[in-house]
């Protein structure tokens, strides 16, 4: 498979999930501490920082998220993707069985009994 980096992780979604979400929360913590350090900065300064992280024009500071390997970002995205996918599924799977199906099965059973 000539996929992007992280493809080995991709092939074992369930097993790799806890690790990935742990990393995601570590990222969040780092982000939080960054934010508290830069609390005095106005809103615009934040978004400029964001662009710098994206573009990587300045050398990344040690605390900068830009320094995180690309694979880590991918894994946190993978974790998010897995959560959303399961959420879409379980949202519906947790709904009670609609009346129409209960009636349908009762009708099928009744038909069977008449035979």
């Amino acid at each position: 498979m000539a996929e992007k980096d992280g493809s080995t992780h991709l092939s074992a979604p369930a097993a790799a999930e806890p690790e990935a979400s742990q990393e995601a929360s570590q990222q969040e913590q780092r982000k939080q501490s960054q934010q508290s350090m830069g609390q005095n900065k106005p809103y615009l300064a934040h978004s400029k920082d964001d662009r710098e992280r994206e573009g990587g024009m300045d050398p990344p500071r040690p605390s900068d998220l830009c320094g995180a390997p690309r694979g880590m970002l991918d894994r946190s995205l993978q974790a998010q993707l897995g959560r959303q996918l399961r959420a879409i599924f379980s949202d519906v799977a947790q709904e009670p069985v609609p009346e129409r199906f209960i009636k349908l099965l009762e009708a099928l059973e009744a038909r069977e009994k008449r035979r």
Binding site: E3, S7, E17, S25, Q35, H46, R53, L77, E106, E109
Partner: protein, 188 residues
């Protein structure tokens, strides 16, 4: 036959929530999904003799449902392709307004995937089937399932990635993500 039909009824009832979830994830539309489930139940009831006792009833029902769905897709292929095209452009114009793909965006992204990739991703990533089971359900090779899942994940990651830079933005978005991360790690 009476006790048989009663236990079949119970077994089917118990699997309906799963079938509906699979159908909705496949076709993205609850009404169409319920029609698929109904057709699946009818076919399963009438072809019970082709179910091999002792094998996985859930997998058997998923197989019937996906076969029903894909033969319907083949009938409406042109229409489906048109719809997917317009969805793809919608997504390109509005990547995650809240700084991430919310549920609605995610559903839309899922619907942009080719149906075979979407199916593989749902079977393995949401319904909890192994690659081998998913391959049996989709009647293809295990390697094919793996490559479909990988391609689907790569494509979704790409779409999620488009929205990600904003996640590093100002407070409300960050808080939402922190809340989500904390909430989900509590679950796991």
């Amino acid at each position: 036959m009476n006790s048989d039909s009663s236990s079949l009824k119970q077994a089917l009832l118990g699997l309906i929530p799963n079938l509906r979830a699979f159908a909705v994830s496949l076709c993205g539309d609850i009404e169409r999904a319920d029609d698929l489930v109904q057709e699946t139940l009818l076919k399963a009831w009438d072809h019970l003799e082709s179910f091999q006792e002792g094998t996985n009833l859930r997998a058997w029902l998923f197989t019937i449902l996906r076969n029903t769905y894909f033969s319907e897709c083949r009938r409406r292929r042109r229409e489906v392709e048109d719809r997917d095209g317009s969805k793809a452009s919608d997504l390109a114009v509005h990547p995650g307004q809240q700084g991430h793909l919310d549920m609605q965006d995610f559903r839309r992204a899922l619907n942009v995937l080719p149906p075979d990739q979407r199916e593989a991703l749902i079977l393995v990533g949401a319904a909890g089937f192994s690659y081998e089971e998913a391959a049996a359900i989709s009647s293809c090779a295990v390697g094919t399932i793996k490559s479909r899942v990988n391609r689907a994940r790569a494509k979704l990651t790409e779409m999620l990635g488009v929205a990600t830079p904003r996640e590093f933005g100002p407070d409300s978005a960050t808080e939402a993500i922190v809340a989500r991360t904390v909430g989900s790690s509590r679950q796991s």
